[in-house]
Amino acid sequence: MSYLKPGLPAPVAENDGLDAPYWEGTRRGELMVQRCKSCGTWQWGPEWICHKCLSFDIGWVQVEGRGKIYSWERPWHPVHPALKDQGPYIVVLVELPHAGNIRMLGNLLGDPKQQVRIGAEVEAVFEPHDDAKPPFTLVQWKYR
């Protein structure tokens, strides 16, 4: 059971492979992000070069799926046919303090009309879409 109704665009890795380790990680239930092998800087979204030391030697590491809500929104107006009967839903931007305060976007699970608290602690929930073509897994969030 997915948070949003099926039929939204399916995420696929870029054809240059830049973000493939992230999407492959989600299928395993692992949250993979970039960390520079030269200077240790955390980086998200993915890029080919470290924005701090300009090394191309960017590594991928698994991080714990927890963080704090940095911002949020509640869309009501459906802009995609798949969301026509969805009703409101919540999108959160989650900051990961243990990974250089990188931010990740997802939906906040639970009542779509619930109050959202900036600063509240949340943890990641992997949401597989095994029947999609191609299959993929989203990273959602819920209050801890």
């Binding site: 399916a10 107006h77 409101p88 976007l105």
Partner: protein
């Protein structure tokens, strides 16, 4: 002041617009709209359109300058320029690019234009069905983040939260645009006034934005003609001199997946100081302001970043009375802007800024000399510009 400036080097001497339509309602194809706006601007300037020798636009306008030059029978094309990225954030950037070309001797008479026919082409606010998403879109679309409103609401939400800004601030921006549109017969929302009660009762598009916090989508075209300052007095109308322009965005604004370090901004924190430095004016010198409303929260942040008030003063400053022409402290969006005149992707704001300096606005400020435009906020790159009367040179 260095010699490397656009201050006083060029002037806007012609403005032109088509009629403005609800989206999908233009009787003309987009290219015809572009031609009509350009010809209207030439007529306004009192020149033969064949004097035009360059074009500048933004947001990947589909009307190619070489086709325009051929269609208009221009003797030669000397400048063909597209402001790269940022959608409506490029509106003042396109003027800056045209100005730089004229000031630098690349061309003598450059048109800045934008044309949209959203019946002929896809709307901004609707997502294409199904399919796949890659790159930045893969981090957004599967979670239901697709339209511009959905893309930028979290920037404003964070800003409102950090600065404890109440509902009245965004509402005042919407009310000002609608009030000014009631005086403007060109405005799509002319004859449709908005009350605070109607605003409060309107449906959410995406919290923190209601229906009236969001721009319209429209069909139409607008154009401006830019010439060297030393020729400006030879044209039919009072010239609007460019005092300053700036474009760009702050450190890593374009970091993917909503990872801009300064997330809760309209992207102007580095741009605005460059603008004022070139123009040689301060916020208190600005007589009238047009500030691009994609969403009211973006205007709010734009005003803060351009120094009109501090974030913690927003609740007090952003009340309708302060934003109304002619008597408000900061008359804002005096034609009705993107919310209520026409979403001409913001170029109607540059046209209105010129009109104010000429004394031709339908919500005219008394004897303005400094007229400012802030283009689309929260995107990257953004841009803003300041025009002045001859007395400011």
């Amino acid at each position: 002041m260095t010699d490397r400036t656009l201050r006083g080097r060029v002037a806007i001497v012609g403005i032109g617009e088509t009629a403005y339509y609800k989206h999908g309602k233009s009787p003309d194809p987009e290219f015809v709209l572009a031609l009509k706006a350009i010809l209207a601007a030439a007529k306004d300037a009192g020149i033969d359109p064949r004097r035009i020798d360059g074009f500048a636009s933004y947001s990947n306008d589909r009307n190619d300058p070489s086709r325009l030059a051929a269609a208009l029978g221009l003797p030669e094309l000397r400048f063909s320029n597209m402001q790269w990225g940022g959608g409506g954030g490029g509106g003042a950037g396109a003027v800056a690019n045209a100005a730089a070309a004229v000031a630098g001797g690349l061309a003598d008479c450059v048109v800045v234009f934008r044309s949209l026919a959203q019946g002929q082409f896809q709307r901004f606010g609707a997502a294409p069905p199904g399919g796949v998403a890659t790159g930045e879109a893969a981090l957004n679309a599967p979670y239901g983040v697709m339209s511009p409103a959905q893309r930028y609401a979290m920037r404003a939400m964070r800003f409102l939260h950090e600065n404890k800004i109440g509902d009245g601030a965004q509402r005042a921006i919407a009310l000002a645009s609608y009030a000014h549109a009631q005086k403007n017969p060109r405005a799509v929302m002319n004859g449709k006034p908005l009350t605070a009660e109607a605003y409060d009762a309107s449906r959410w598009i995406v919290e923190p934005w209601r229906l009236f916090d969001c721009c319209m989508e429209n069909d139409g075209a607008a154009a401006l003609i830019i010439v060297p300052a030393e020729q400006a007095k030879d044209f039919a109308k009072k010239p609007a001199y460019l005092l300053g322009a700036a474009l760009g965005s702050e450190y890593r604004n374009g970091a993917r997946g909503h990872n801009a370090p300064l997330y809760a901004t309209s992207s102007f924190t580095t741009v605005a100081p460059h603008l004022y430095a070139m123009a040689g004016v301060k916020p208190k010198d600005v007589d009238v302001l047009q500030s691009y409303e994609n969403f009211t929260g973006g205007v709010l942040m734009s005003l803060v970043e351009h120094g009109f008030f501090k974030a913690e003063e927003a609740n007090d400053f952003l009340v309708p009375d302060n934003l109304m022409a002619p008597g408000g402290k900061l008359p804002l969006n005096t034609s009705g802007g993107n919310l209520a005149e026409c979403y001409m992707h913001g170029l109607e704001l540059q046209v209105e800024a010129v009109r104010q300096l000429r004394g031709e606005s339908t919500a005219q400020v008394k004897d303005p000399h400094v007229s400012m435009v802030i283009a689309g906020p929260m995107v990257t790159p953004v841009s803003s510009m300041i025009l002045g009367s001859v007395e400011t040179l």
